[in-house]
C-alpha cells in the first residue's frame, strides 16, 4: 500500500515544540519534504523529557499531523536528542605503520580509527556520534585520505558526542510507547548543522547556534567537518522566567512580552518607553518598563552567547569561526540577536533556514524547523548509504542467503 515510496521521518522533541518531518529521496538525491507535523511540548524541560505521559501525547499529535499531510504511515523515526548531559570532545588515536615499505593501507586507517574510538567514558555514558576529523601522517596535518601515502605514523582526531544513557533512553522510550521504531538517535546540534549550512559555509568555518526553548546547541564547522559541538542548557524558557521574575508578571505574560517587545541588545534605546499589559487582578493595566525588559533579556542572552564563546575558546575552536555565525531555532526570532552575536563573535551573523532541501518555502525558511529538517536529511543520507551498500553487496549476499536457506 505504502510501499511505493521509501520515506524517512525526523522527530525533534524540543522544549517548546515537537516537530515531525517526513521526507523522501527526491530529485538529484536531495531530500524532498512530504509532511510536517508540530505540537506544543508540555513535558520537556531544558531539552529533556520530564513527563513521559504528556510527551507521549504530544509526540502522537505531531506524528499524526505529519502522517496526514504526507499521506504516509510512519514506522520509524530518526530521533533528535539534546540536554545538558550531552557533551562533545576530541579524542586522538595514533597508529604506527608497520609494513616494510611504509605504504599506508586500508587496514592502517581502520586501526587508527579504532584506536581513536577507544574513549574512556563513565559506565552510564553512551556515545551518540563519532565524527572523524582529518588524518595526519608523520605530523603533516589536514590529509583527507591517507591510503596510498607513505609514512611511519598516522594520527586521527575524532569528535565524540556522548550523553548519559538513561537520559537518552527517556526520549527513546516515549517514541517506543507509540509503537514507532527509532532508527537512530542524532544530536540536535549536528542535525541543525546538516540543515542550515551550505558546503561553502562548512568549508570556511561557521558557528551554528541552535537557540531553542530550553537549550542552546552549538557546533563549529570548518574544512567541511564538524570540529566541535556541545549544549548549554539555557534557552528561551530562561528568558521568560527571568522576565517573569524581574518584571513580576505571570510566566505566560512574560512569554508574550519577550516575543512582542523583547530585544537582545540592552535596554538603553528603550529608555523611558513603557508597555501596558492588561492585568485581571489589579484592574488598571500594569505598566512595564521596556528598559528593564530589554536589560533583563540582553543580560541573559549575552551571557549565554559568552558562555558558548568561552567554551569554544577552551576547545581551541574560536579562531576557526571565520565565515560567520548562523543562528537558528526559535531563538533566532529574538530581535537584535544577530547584532549581539556579531558583537560577541566578531563575524557576520545570519538566521539559518534549511538549505539543499526541496519543499514548501514557508517551511524551509523557518528557523524553528531547522532541527526537524536536519533529522530528516540525516535519515535520507542514511537511506542513500544503505541503497549504495545494497547495490554493491546484493549479488554476493543473495548467493549467501540462498546457500544458507538450503543448508
Amino acid at each position: 500500500m505504502f510501499a511505493n515510496r521509501e520515506i524517512v521521518t525526523g522527530l525533534d522533541i524540543g522544549t517548546s515544540q515537537i516537530t515531525a518531518i517526513i521526507a523522501e529521496v527526491g530529485a538529484s538525491n536531495l531530500p524532498h519534504l512530504l509532511g510536517i507535523g508540530q505540537a506544543k511540548s508540555r513535558g520537556v524541560r531544558k531539552g529533556e523529557v520530564v513527563d513521559s505521559d504528556l510527551t507521549t501525547e504530544d509526540v502522537r499529535l505531531a506524528l499524526t499531523e505529519a502522517e496526514q499531510m504526507a499521506d504516509e504511515e510512519i514506522r520509524s523515526v530518526y530521533l533528535g536528542v539534546s540536554g545538558g548531559h550531552v557533551r562533545g570532545f576530541i579524542n586522538t588515536g595514533t597508529h604506527p605503520v608497520v609494513s616494510s615499505d611504509r605504504d599506508i593501507t586500508e587496514d592502517d586507517v581502520r586501526d587508527v580509527v579504532r584506536n581513536a574510538k577507544a574513549v574512556n567514558l563513565p559506565n552510564d555514558h553512551h556515545v551518540i556520534h563519532v565524527v572523524r576529523q582529518h588524518f595526519s601522517v608523520d605530523g603533516q596535518t589536514g590529509i583527507q585520505n591517507p591510503i596510498g601515502l607513505l609514512g611511519a605514523k598516522i594520527d586521527v582526531d575524532l569528535h565524540v558526542v556522548h550523553g548519559q544513557a538513561n537520559r537518552l533512553q527517556n526520549s527513546i522510550r516515549v517514541v517506543k510507547n507509540l509503537r514507532v521504531d527509532v532508527e537512530d538517535v542524532v544530536f540536535t546540534g549536528l542535525a541543525s548543522v546538516l540543515a542550515v549550512l551550505n558546503s561553502q559555509q562548512k568549508e570556511l568555518g561557521t558557528l551554528v547556534l541552535d537557540f531553542g526553548g530550553g537549550t542552546l546547541e552549538y557546533a563549529v564547522c570548518c574544512h567541511g567537518l564538524v570540529k566541535h559541538s556541545g549544549v548549554l542548557p539555557v534557552g528561551g524558557d530562561h528568558i521568560s522566567n527571568d522576565l517573569a521574575y524581574g518584571l513580576k508578571v505571570p510566566l505566560g505574560r512574560a512569554e508574550q512580552l519577550k516575543i512582542n517587545h523583547g530585544s537582545a541588545l540592552g535596554g538603553d534605546h528603550f529608555r523611558g518607553q513603557t508597555v501596558k499589559v492588561p492585568d485581571r487582578i489589579t484592574l488598571p493595566d500594569k505598566t512595564i518598563n521596556r528598559e528593564h525588559l530589554g536589560r533583563i533579556m540582553s543580560l541573559r542572552v549575552s551571557e549565554a552567547l559568552k558562555l558558548v564563546e568561552a567554551e569554544l575558546l577552551e576547545a581551541g575552536c574560536l579562531d576557526l569561526v571565520r565565515s560567520g555565525v548562523v543562528v537558528t531555532g526559535g531563538g533566532a526570532r529574538i530581535r537584535d540577536i544577530l547584532g549581539l552575536a556579531e558583537h560577541v563573535f566578531g563575524v557576520p551573523a545570519s538566521v539559518g533556514g534549511a538549505t539543499n532541501v526541496n519543499g514548501p518555502k514557508s517551511v524551509l525558511e523557518q528557523p524553528e524547523f531547522a532541527v526537524g529538517i536536519g533529522l530528516a536529511k540525516f535519515g535520507v543520507f542514511e537511506l542513500l548509504k544503505q541503497r549504495d551498500r545494497q547495490t554493491h553487496q546484493r549479488g554476493f549476499r543473495r548467493t549467501l542467503k540462498h546457500l544458507l536457506k538450503i543448508g
Binding site: 595514533t94 577507544a118 542548557p233 522566567n241 543580560l299
Partner: protein, 444 residues
C-alpha cells in the same frame, strides 16, 4: 591590564615604583583608613569614601571622597546595600581617576551595613577593570548585631569574592576571644582597626621594603591574582631567646586561624617576618621550618626584613588563602566534564604517552572544575575528630550554651519554571537563576 604589564610603570622613582591606594569604604572603613593614614607608609595614598558627610568630616588624615550626593544628600545609606551600591554606581565616572594607573588597591570596610556591603563589590570590580590588583579587608559583624546583618554581610562577602582578587576577612566575633571582659567598646574597635592596620602594613612592608628576603609585587600578584581567594591573616609577636619557636606557636593559636580557616588546607601562604637588627637568616629558616610542618604542599611566599625599632622582638605576619574552588561546588556538578579526565588508552609509541602527561599537568595547574581530594592530613584530622568526640566537661558546657534556635532559610531567589528540575550548574553558578540577579544589576 596592558598598563600593569608595561615594565616602564615600575621604574618611577617612587619607592619600588608601585602605586598603592588604600581606600576605606563606609564608616568602619573610613575610621580604619584614618588610623592607617597616620602611619608613615610612603608611596601609599589613603582615601576615605562615604556617603555620610558627618562621618566624613571626622576624617583628618585621609583624602575624603563623598559619593551618592544626588540621592542620599550627604546622609548615610541607612544599612541598605542597594543604596550603597547605587551611590557608587552613580558616581562611577567621578571615581575612575582614583583607580587610574594604580597597581594595588586595598579596600577596607565593614560588611553588614549599607555603604560597605553595597559599594565595595562595585569598587573592587571597577579597580580590577583598570588592571589593579584588588585586596579587600573586610570586617564581619558581631553575632550580637543580629542575623539579618550577618546574612547581609555573607552575601556581600560572596559578591566581593567574585569581584576582587582576594578577600581578607576579620570576623569581629573572633576578637571577643582576644579582648578581655573589661575592654570597652571603643577600645575593641580600636583593636580591630589595629588588626587591619597590621595586615595592610604587613603587605606593604612585604612588597616595598628591601630586606633579607625580598618579595616583589609580582610575587603577590602571582599568589592572589584572579584566584578570588578567601583569606585570613594573623600576626604574632615574640621576643627573647626562643622567639623563633614562640612566635610560630602563638601564631598557630591565633583565633583567626580556626574554624573554616584551617591552616593545613590553605592553598597559598604569604609570610612576612620582621625582626630587630639581630634577626638572622638561620632564625628565619627556623621559623619557616616550623611553619611548614603545619601546612600542606602549598605555595609559600616569604619575605623577611629588619627594623631597628623592633629591638629584640620578631613579628610574624601570615596571610593564608583558600582558593575559590570550594569542594561544595565540584560536588554539585552532575557530570564532570569529560575532556578533563578521559585520555586515550595508551597504545603503542611514546607520542601518546607524552601528550597524556602534558594533559595531566595542565589539569593540575588550570582552574579545573575537577578538584583533586584535599591534601592529606589524615593523622591531624583523626586527632581533631577524637578531640571533638570526647569533649571535656568544660567544653560540654560551652557547646550547650552555643545551641540556639536556627533560622528557617527562605530561598530569596525563586527558580520559577525550573523549580523542579535539576539545577544547571556551570562554573559554580546556577544558570537557572536570572542573570540580572546573579550579576546584581539593579532595576530601579
Amino acid at each position: 591590564m596592558s598598563k600593569t604589564t608595561n615594565p616602564a610603570n615600575h621604574l618611577t622613582p617612587n619607592a619600588g615604583g608601585l602605586s598603592v591606594k588604600v581606600m576605606g569604604v563606609g564608616d568602619a572603613g573610613c575610621r580604619a583608613v584614618d588610623l592607617l593614614a597616620g602611619e608613615a607608609l610612603p608611596g601609599v595614598e589613603f582615601l576615605a569614601l562615604n556617603s555620610d558627610l558627618r562621618g566624613l568630616q571626622e576624617i583628618g588624615n585621609a583624602r575624603r571622597v563623598e559619593v551618592g550626593r544626588d540621592f542620599l544628600r550627604g546622609l548615610s545609606a541607612g544599612g541598605d546595600p542597594d543604596l550603597g551600591r547605587a551611590s557608587v554606581e552613580a558616581d562611577q565616572d567621578r571615581l575612575a581617576p582614583f583607580f587610574a594607573d594604580t597597581d594595588l588597591v586595598m579596600l577596607i570596610g565593614g560588611l553588614g551595613g549599607g555603604i560597605g556591603s553595597g559599594a565595595m563589590p562595585v569598587l573592587a570590580r571597577q579597580a580590577r577593570e583598570v588592571g589593579a590588583l584588588v585586596l579587600s579587608f573586610v570586617s564581619l559583624p558581631f553575632d550580637l548585631e543580629g542575623q539579618q546583618r550577618s546574612q547581609r554581610a555573607d552575601l556581600a562577602r560572596n559578591q566581593l569574592l567574585v569581584a576582587s582578587d582576594a578577600v581578607i576577612s576579620l570576623p569581629n566575633q573572633t576578637f571577643l576571644e582576644i579582648v578581655d571582659e573589661k575592654t570597652r567598646l571603643p577600645e575593641t574597635f580600636e583593636i580591630i582597626n589595629r588588626a587591619v592596620l597590621q595586615g595592610v602594613r604587613g603587605i606593604w612592608q612585604m612588597i616595598e621594603k628591601a630586606g633579607l628576603i625580598n618579595v616583589s609585587f609580582q610575587d603577590l600578584r602571582s599568589v592572589v591574582q584572579s584566584k578570588h581567594a578567601r583569606s585570613s591573616f594573623a600576626v604574632a609577636e615574640a621576643e627573647g631567646e626562643n622567639r623563633a619557636r614562640e612566635v610560630v606557636e602563638s601564631l598557630l593559636a591565633h583565633p583567626l586561624l580556626t574554624g573554616e580557616n584551617q591552616l593545613e588546607e590553605a592553598d597559598a601562604l604569604l609570610v612576612n617576618i620582621v625582626g630587630g637588627d639581630s634577626l638572622s637568616i638561620s632564625e628565619v629558616d627556623r621559623i619557616m621550618e616550623r611553619l611548614r610542618r603545619h601546612v600542606g604542599e602549598v605555595r609559600i611566599v616569604v619575605g623577611a626584613s629588619t627594623n631597628p625599632a623592633m629591638e629584640d622582638k620578631v613579628e610574624l605576619t601570615l596571610i593564608a588563602s583558600w582558593h575559590r574552588k570550594a569542594r561544595s561546588v565540584s560536588l554539585q556538578i552532575d557530570a564532570p566534564r569529560m575532556e578533563e579526565f578521559t585520555f586515550p588508552v595508551p597504545i603503542e609509541g611514546s607520542e601518546i604517552e607524552t601528550s597524556f602527561f602534558k594533559r595531566a599537568n595542565e589539569i593540575t595547574t588550570s582552574t579545573s572544575r575537577y578538584v583533586a581530594p584535599p591534601p592529606d592530613s589524615e593523622d591531624r584530622r583523626t586527632d581533631r575528630f577524637f578531640a571533638q568526640s570526647q569533649p571535656s566537661l568544660n567544653q560540654q558546657r560551652r557547646i550547650k550554651k552555643q545551641l540556639k534556635q536556627g533560622m528557617l532559610k527562605l530561598d530569596a531567589v525563586s527558580r520559577g519554571r525550573f523549580e523542579k528540575s535539576a539545577p544547571t550548574i556551570h562554573n559554580g553558578e546556577d544558570l537557572d537563576v536570572p542573570t540580572f540577579v546573579r550579576r546584581g544589576v539593579a532595576l530601579n
